[in-house]
Amino acid sequence: MSCKICGRPSKKENYCNLHLKAYQNICEKFEAWNNALEVSWIDYLVSISKNSLTGEWAKEVVKYLIEDESRNVKEK
């Protein structure tokens, strides 16, 4: 399997090593954001995608996750 973001060989959850770490980071930080601002998962993703401090790979994963969320909404 290859990474859904960059096409490198994937290790877990269809992410390569680098994007997997970014994904884990995104999931981990949601709790802090939720506590701080009481935001939903999608609002959180939109906020970090616009934040200039978010790392390049984390932004790539966020972009994928946002697209994935909107695909899911459409399917429903």
Binding site: L18, K21, A22, N25, I26, E28, K29, A32, W33, N35, A36, L37, I48, N51, L53, T54, G55, E56, W57, A58
Partner: protein
């Protein structure tokens, strides 16, 4: 022909200084043979000829020709035989050999460090027909007349062979790593995809690149989290101060808002004042690392730049030998004499006289020690010519640092004032210098946090002017800059004081790094590190490099042999090269794909403004040999957009399109000093405007 003493120095400027110093009348004669200068001096009844190298004249090279690996057979050969750009060294060596024929005594006067010792040793051994064992050694730390003459009178009976062995081992180990790893990577790419590009890796390069790569990864996967901070502006006796809330970060916005609302009152009260007095010791003398670090902090000079400037000041006998790791200033350098000489300059007169009036001068030394040289200090000589700004800055910094280390400790006062604003605690920190001490000498280079303080007392009322709630986010770790990377290398004990700056430069030259102040790794650098991490992690581990450094230091202490260290290196490399060979196809494909992507990216100008779906790329026409910009959809017969390009100079696409017409803009780097921008659109209104202007 009359016999003479032949002195070998490291550079022509140093040779001139040595000859002038040793000549009884201080007037050496400059001669030259085939354009190679040497200097003749008269010292008592002795005739002296001072010849010089021009850096390293010999280098390590493979014993067999051909581009293959692993390579474990090598020899020391003249540098001109390996690299064409050193061809002029051939005549240089011939002249030295000719001068050696009639010499009866040989003296090595190259810099007393590893590199200098190898330069002198190789010349004496290879160019002077094996005179290394009979040669004596000049040891000095400044190029002043007094020290050079004293060093000539007290010549060391022989070369420092332990230092030379350690140096030779370092060069050989580095060569073995460099040649094998670089060839393995380059050949992997060539053999798997037919791509020709030179890739390199090395013993110290690998771990250094890994530090930057690890930092970059942490930056790229970083996700910020929000937090809030509260500050208050208060007024006391018409002075305004900024206070910080007791908690530096508040994790939830609702909490932060509640606190701010509670603080919207008109008055607060000082509830506690903690006063502390403390001493601040003078700084320690400069070793090369701390000088480079300070020069970067103050002037933003890169470590490489600072090393070059310091070398220039040393050659002009203005400062002592700069490539030292010592933070000690022994009394033998004669502090009083240096201060007296410096006091002839109006710039330093007041400060030096103050120090000279002290009953005793004792420097505040640091822990680092270098057996070969003391810390960096000014010789006391004043510049004969006007120094350029960069040299002037470094010279002034070294002089003032030297003065400061003899200063008394500074006495400072800190005040922590606790203020209650409607049951919420705020703090204010104030610093005040009570006695300047050493700061007086180093004032221009000290960041002062001093503020003038009104009289505070407990129970005092304060006027609350403003309470601010600030939205913040956690920040990613900072990128390395030349100063912090150098510190990291020093901390990890990889490389030497003389080589670290060059290694950083090599990483730039190999296009593994970009950005001067904020260093980041390029895509190519990332891929090379990733390949090495996957297939031979030892090569990029600091541990392996550190262990080798220790072994090489042990050679210097005669606790280890060069032969043994080389044998260990070859054993390590045999395993590494075997793995690299086995996985050649995998490595080559991985790197090759990346190189193709990078090359395509370099050729990519932007989106096609006509068809909107294609990409504009630089194409080299096979028919005409000329380059132009075309749309990728052309190959599918969908779009025929094309633009002419200037035929000379490197082209760099710019991220922002033309402000007037929106077409892509390129930068021509034909003249690096004057690059120029061009909008691709031939009908762009800006072109008309420029024509009209002309």
């Amino acid at each position: 022909m009359k016999k003479y003493t032949l002195i070998i120095s490291e550079k022509p400027d140093a040779a001139n200084r040595i000859a002038v110093a040793l000549d009884d009348k201080g007037k050496a004669i400059r001669e030259n043979s085939n354009g190679v200068p040497f200097f003749v001096a008269k010292n008592g009844d002795k005739e002296i000829i001072v010849a010089s190298a021009i850096g390293h004249l010999y280098t390590v090279s493979g014993a067999k020709k051909g581009w293959f690996y692993p390579v474990f057979d090598y020899q020391w050969v003249p540098r001109w035989m390996v690299k064409k750009e050193f061809l002029k060294n051939r005549i240089w060596l011939k002249v030295i050999s000719k001068l050696a024929e009639d010499a009866e005594e040989f003296v090595d006067a190259c810099d007393y460090d590893i590199e200098g010792s190898i330069i002198g040793y190789c010349i004496l051994k290879y160019a002077c027909n094996s005179k290394e064992k009979m040669a004596r050694r000049m040891k000095y730390s400044t190029l002043t007349r007094e020290e050079l003459r004293e060093s000539f009178i007290n010549l060391l009976p022989q070369l420092d062979f332990a230092l030379i062995e350690a140096g030779l081992a370092r060069h050989e180990v580095d060569w073995l790593y460099g040649i094998n790893l670089s060839r393995a990577l380059t050949l992997a790419v060539k053999n798997s995809g037919g791509i020709y590009t030179t890739l390199s890796a090395g013993r110290v390069q690998g771990p250094t690149l890994k530090y930057i790569e690890t930092r970059e990864k942490n930056i790229r996967i970083f996700v910020p989290t929000p937090f809030w901070s509260i500050t208050a502006k208060i007024s006391i006796d018409n002075h305004t101060f900024e206070l910080e809330y007791e908690k530096k970060s508040i994790a939830t916005k609702s909490n932060a808002k509640v606190i701010r609302a509670a603080c919207k009152v008109k008055e607060g009260q000082i509830i506690k004042i903690d006063e502390k007095k403390f001493q601040q010791k003078p700084p320690v003398p400069f070793d090369l690392g701390t000088l480079q670090s300070e020069a970067y902090r103050l002037f933003r000079y890169t470590p490489m730049q600072t090393a070059k400037i310091a070398q220039h000041l040393y050659i002009n006998a203005l400062i002592s030998y700069p490539r030292t790791s010592s933070q000690k200033l022994p009394p033998s350098i004669d502090y009083n004499n240096i201060l007296r000489k410096l006091s002839k300059s109006a710039m330093y007169q007041k400060l030096t006289q103050k120090l000279l009036a002290q009953p005793m001068l004792k420097p505040n030394e640091g822990p680092k020690f270098d057996p070969a040289h003391p810390a960096i200090y000014p010789t006391g000589n004043l510049p004969e010519k006007v120094l350029d700004t960069t040299a002037k800055n470094i010279y002034d910094l070294i002089v003032k640092r030297f003065l400061a280390v003899f200063g008394e400790p500074a006495l400072k006062q800190s005040l922590k004032v606790s203020i209650n604003i409607n049951q919420n605690l705020f703090f204010m920190m104030c610093y005040h210098t009570l006695k300047e001490g050493w700061i007086e000498y180093y004032k221009s280079y000290v960041n002062s946090k001093d503020i003038s303080l009104p009289l505070f007392f407990e129970g005092q009322k304060v006027v609350v002017k403003k309470v601010t709630l600030k939205d913040n986010f956690t920040k990613p770790p900072p990128r390395f800059n030349p100063r912090s990377l150098l510190k990291k290398m020093e901390k990890e004990e990889i490389g030497t004081k003389a080589t670290r700056a060059n290694i950083i430069q090599t990483l730039y030259d190999r296009k593994y790094l970009e950005g001067k102040q904020n260093m980041s790794i390029t895509d190519l650098g990332f891929e090379v590190t990733e390949v090495l991490r996957q297939h031979c992690p030892r090569v990029i581990s600091s541990e392996m490099t550190k262990k080798l450094e220790e072994k090489m230091e042990q050679i210097q202490l005669k606790q280890e042999t060069r032969q043994n260290v080389i044998a260990i290196t070859i054993e390590n490399l045999k395993n590494v090269t075997e793995t690299l060979k086995q996985k050649q196809l995998e490595i080559g494909t991985q790197l090759g794909q990346k190189i193709k992507q990078i090359r395509f990216k370099k050729q990519t100008i932007g989106n096609c403004p006509k068809c909107q779906t294609g990409t504009l790329v630089i194409i080299n026409s096979k028919k005409t040999g000329k380059r132009f910009v075309g749309c990728t959809n052309f190959f599918e017969n969908k779009c025929d957009t094309s633009f002419p390009l200037p035929q000379k100079g490197a082209i760099e696409p710019l991220a922002t399109p033309c402000k007037t017409c929106g077409y892509p803009v390129i930068k021509n780097l034909g003249n690096p000093k004057h690059p120029w921008k061009m909008c691709l659109n031939l009908n762009c209104p800006t072109k008309e405007m420029k024509k009209n202007e002309l």
